[in-house]
């Protein structure tokens, strides 16, 4: 299970990334995250909706009500231009972190590790 801190930090970029693929609604976002993480990340409504509302306030996403063919109403969220810019920024940060971890944890890169030790 991911730690609370990690979930808190990653929710926003994850939502932005999911919405970058197209409009989506709350329940489906939760399901997608769960399946992509093999059940490792189990988001709840109580956690997701406040984040969505906050992001909407920050104008990163927008929402609209859609009536499905079955007659059901769903609220769909869509990434905005501001959201897209934010995503680029977030992406570079996460990739950076990722690159550091990768280089730290890869076995064949002893030099860089010793470099760190000498500093």
């Amino acid at each position: 299970m991911a730690t609370k801190a990690l979930v808190a930090a990653s929710t926003k970029p994850m939502v932005l990334s999911i919405l970058a693929y197209g409009e989506n609604y709350g329940y489906n976002i939760i399901q997608q995250v769960e399946s992509m993480s093999d059940g490792e990340l189990q988001w709840t409504d109580a956690m997701l909706y406040p984040v969505l509302k906050r992001m909407e306030k920050e104008k990163l996403i927008s929402s609209r009500w859609v009536k499905t063919e079955a007659g059901r109403k769903r609220k769909y969220y869509k990434i905005t231009e501001t959201g897209k810019a934010k995503l680029v920024e977030e992406k570079s940060q996460w990739l950076n972190v990722n690159a550091i971890f990768q280089s730290l944890w890869s076995d064949d890169d002893e030099i860089s590790f010793s470099e760190i030790q000498t500093v």
């Binding site: 609604y25 709350g26 329940y27 489906n28 939760i30 709840t44 409504d45 109580a46 909706y49 406040p50 509302k53 906050r54 306030k57 059901r72 109403k73 769903r74 609220k75």
Partner: protein
């Protein structure tokens, strides 16, 4: 099976509704959550759960803890709302809706506007007035480092210090006196001067102008430096270096030389005062009216022509008042050796410059001191009016806006939260209060000059040029707007959506009615209090006016004769033949401010008293005052009277008789030694003995605030000098007496200014402040009643409109008009009783405290409170009945046909 009866739509709807009780879960959000719930429900059904199980699991999975979600969501909602939030975005909308509402209930909003304007004008006037009264002498630089020096002698405090040899102190002696003060440790600078109240004739070539408030000083440099009086024309040095020079104030220069005085090169010109010539050295700016000092001309002279002087000193900023006083007291031997030897001297007193006006009440003050108490009274009365207007507003807006519950419901459905609703009401209150601005300004422009002349103050008349006025007005408006919008916004925004559509809260809501009743009770309480206060204050003033002072105060004219006895007699002879003049005498005046007392003891006893006043009256002046005395035979038959004798008043006689167990009548012939601490070096005689020659009844020479103390009245046939002539005349010549007397005066003293006063006016002036406060309390009570009644009328009018159907039904069922009116009035009687119980003790306490400042006062009659209550009831029930009648007169059918 239970599954058959299970309806998922109903269950979801119920679940959704249950979420709405949480403040931050609005219908839209509940709907969104429900759509997720449905998806999960479907999944669980597919997994083989029953309907109930699937729903229960989906519910759990969707929201486990709605409370936590509510908290989280409310944080999200508040985020970014910090100060303005969506306020700026919604502001135009608030204004639009507010404006529409104002227009929709024009009559009621107009009433709010009128009453808020009145309340605000009263509050602003009170603030300006209090600000003026508390600003005395603040304009002088370093006013907190400047002190007035006085002295304690016997048991009295003086605002002046006597010279070593009183009037005969030489200029050198006066200089030693002030230099010793200047050289006291901690004192930086000191000056002394005297201001002559009465007019003296100033002569500019042939022209003579009587001029009052002439200031004489022999410390001109310190006088200008300490107070920093700004010179508009002339050179300071010329004035400082040359005795017998003078400075005019600006308005005095204008009085003498006209508006264009500045172009006339005044410096160097000569002015004569009496027989002395003075050179004009310059022109000073006028002394602001909010100074306890007042003068029109400043003369530099080597010697001050008076028995003492007003002394002011500046101290180093770090020096405390107490240490300066200690140093001065220590230095008394150098300052005034005579005082140092005197056993009557009780030390020097110090009053800080900016505290003199409101905090000092010593003998011989330059201006009558201000009364802090009256500032409180004024502040309280205008706060009452302001509270009335605010509660009017609150009351009316609760009633009017109760019918806006549906609107609020709609707003909430569209996502408005409580804060948004409150903002709408605040904005509406603020719109009304800001709409008052032009009316407030117009009223103030009209009122301030009148208020100034009525209260004898100088509140700045072009107040709008002062940014502080605007700061005051705008912040007051915000406070009033917020205060008046406070209750409606809390009360109306708190209701849950589900209850908002149920009913018209004006009729049904219990809490609304209770608060409304509480406010009306509060208003009644204020009215009863104010009304009884006004009645009692004016009763006391009437009592003062009508109280027998022990002498006749009507038809007596005082003339400042200030001459030797022969001139006085010549003046008397001029008037003797005038028919209608029934008595002419000379001596002390009645209706004056307290002056110095004297010490005395009865010969043969040791106890020394220090509480007696000396009075001087010749036989005719005692006679014309009509005082009851034991020597009436001499007054009736002046030829038999001794050259002089001393009478003691009733209080003195009783004190002596009780203290020494001497029957009163045996006091006649006994010797009283005045100033027994004094010993004549040559003869060895102690004090100034006199024989008691008779008694007079107690008379109130001073204001009725002063208790009557022992008095010694010296009655004489003639004296060396006559200061004051008193003339009694018949009412039939009231219109001509002044001219007749002036003509006689001009014959004997052609070169002097004719100064006079009427005794009845002098007595009235002692209560000048009380009279003003008395009239002001009448005006303000009237305004308060007006505001409260306007509010009550509007409220009743509105409520009866809402109850038109009820009234219609009652009429159809046979109720009489009187019966309906009684019903509407009945509601208020209970409230009035409660108000009565609360306000009477408070008012009683306040009035008793005020009355205790008078030595002679009325008893607080409880009947007054009943009268006030009945008056309040009467006025309000007339208002309520009239308004109700208007509705009753309309056809009942029309009311019933209406779709409310």
């Amino acid at each position: 099976m239970s599954s058959n009866s299970f309806n998922i739509e109903i269950e979801i709807e119920r679940w959704q509704k249950s979420l709405l009780k949480y403040q931050s879960i609005d219908p839209e959000f509940a709907e969104e959550l429900a759509s997720g719930l449905r998806d999960r429900y479907d999944v669980f059904l597919e997994e083989g759960y029953t309907n109930e199980e699937a729903f229960a699991k989906a519910k759990k999975k969707t929201i486990l803890d709605p409370k936590a979600l509510d908290n989280e969501m409310s944080q999200v909602k508040q985020q970014g709302n910090s100060i303005f939030g969506d306020f700026l975005y919604l502001f135009p909308n608030y204004i639009k809706i507010g404006w529409r509402n104002l227009g929709r209930k024009r009559f009621y909003n107009l009433i709010n506007l009128v009453s808020l304007t009145i309340g605000l004008v009263c509050a602003i006037l009170a603030i300006l007035y209090i600000n003026y009264e508390t600003s005395f002498d603040n304009f002088i630089k370093d006013s907190r480092q400047i002190y007035r020096m006085g002295q304690t002698l016997r048991s009295q405090d003086y605002s002046m210090i006597a010279f070593e040899d009183y009037n005969s102190a030489s200029s050198e002696q006066q200089k030693i006196h002030i230099d010793a003060i200047k050289n006291t440790q901690g004192v930086i600078d000191a000056c002394h001067f005297f201001i002559f109240d009465g007019p003296r004739l100033l002569r500019k070539q042939e022209e003579k102008l009587p001029t009052s408030k002439i200031l004489q000083t022999n410390t001109p440099e310190s006088f200008l430096d300490i107070f920093g009086w700004p010179l508009i024309e002339g050179a300071k040095n010329v004035f400082i270096q040359n005795p017998n020079t003078l400075l005019f104030t600006e308005s005095e220069a204008e009085r003498f030389y006209g508006n264009n005085w500045a172009s006339q090169d005044l410096v160097g010109k000569t002015i004569e005062i009496d027989t002395m010539a003075y050179t004009i050295a310059g022109v000073l700016k006028d002394v602001p009216s909010n100074s306890h000092l007042d003068f029109s001309v400043v003369i530099h002279q080597n010697k001050i022509d008076y028995w003492g002087a007003r002394t002011y000193l500046k101290v180093a900023s770090e020096t405390g008042k107490l240490s300066i006083k200690t140093n001065l007291d220590k230095n008394i031997g150098k300052i005034n050796p005579r005082l140092a030897r005197s056993e009557l001297f009780g030390g020097f007193t110090l009053d800080r410059l900016d505290e003199i006006y409101l905090h000092s009440n010593k003998l011989y003050e330059i201006k009558p001191p201000g009364e802090k108490r009256y500032l409180y009274i004024f502040g309280i009365i205008s706060s009452i009016i302001l509270l009335l207007t605010i509660s009017n507003y609150t009351n009316l807006s609760i009633a009017m806006n109760a019918s806006r519950m549906r609107e609020i419901g709609m707003r909430k459905i569209f996502g408005a939260n409580r804060l948004n609703i409150s903002k709408q009401f605040f904005i509406e209150a603020l719109i009304i209060s800001y709409l008052c601005v032009p009316f407030i300004l117009l009223l103030l422009v009209f009122l301030i000059p009148r208020f100034n002349s009525f209260m004898d103050v100088a509140i700045i008349e072009n107040f709008w040029t002062d940014f502080r006025f605007w700061a005051l007005l705008l912040s007051l408006l915000i406070v009033i707007g917020i205060l008046s919008g406070l209750y409606p916004s809390i009360f109306l925004s708190k209701n849950k959506i589900t209850t908002l559509f149920k009913a018209n809260l004006a009729k049904d809501s219990k809490s609304g009615l209770t608060v409304r009743k509480a406010i009306i009770t509060f208003q009644f309480g204020l009215l009863i209090g104010l009304c009884s206060l006004t009645l009692l204050v004016n009763n006391q003033l009437r009592f003062i006016n009508n109280k027998d002072l022990g002498y006749q105060k009507e038809n007596i004219l005082y003339v400042d004769i200030n001459s030797n006895w022969d001139t006085f007699m010549a003046f008397k002879n001029e008037l003797n033949s005038v028919s209608g003049i029934t008595g002419i005498g000379s001596g002390s005046n009645m209706g004056t401010l307290p002056y110095n007392q004297t010490t005395y003891r009865l010969k043969g006893t040791d106890q020394v008293f220090d509480d007696a006043y000396n009075l001087y009256l010749d036989y005719p002046s005692l006679d014309l005052l009509g005082v009851q005395t034991s020597i009436q035979k001499y007054l009736d038959n002046p030829a038999e009277a001794p050259n002089s004798l001393v009478l003691i008043n009733e209080t003195a006689a009783n004190n002596l008789s009780n203290n020494f167990s001497i029957p009163k009548q045996d006091l006649v012939g006994r010797i009283i030694i005045e100033e027994p601490e004094y010993k004549d070096e040559e003869t060895g005689e102690i004090g100034f003995p006199f024989q008691i020659g008779g008694f007079i009844d107690d008379i109130n020479v001073f204001s009725l605030k002063e208790k009557i103390t022992p008095m010694f009245i010296r009655v004489y046939r003639e004296s060396e000098y006559a200061y004051l002539a008193s003339i009694r005349y018949d009412s039939s010549i009231s219109n001509t007496v002044l001219q007749t007397v002036e003509n006689a005066y001009k014959k004997v003293k052609p070169n002097d200014a004719f100064i006079y006063s009427f005794l009845s006016q002098d007595v009235n002036e002692l209560y000048d402040q009380e009279q003003k406060i008395g009239s002001l309390s009448v005006y303000f009570s009237f305004v308060a009643f007006l505001v409260a009644i306007i509010g009550l009328i509007a409220l009743t009018a509105y409520l009866t409109t809402l109850k038109r159907k009820e009234i219609g039904m009652r009429k159809i069922l046979g109720a009489s008009s009187f019966g309906i009116i009684k019903l509407f009035n009945k509601e208020y009687i209970g409230l009035l009783l409660v108000a009565f119980m609360i306000s009477v003790p408070i008012t009683y306490y306040g009035v008793s405290k005020w009355l205790s400042t008078f030595a002679y006062r009325i008893d607080v009659n409880l009947l007054v409170f009943f009268i006030a209550a009945v008056l309040t009831l009467l006025i309000s029930s007339v208002a309520v009945s009239l308004v109700t009648m208007r509705v009753i007169r309309s056809e009942p059918v029309e009311a019933l046909r209406e779709d409310q």
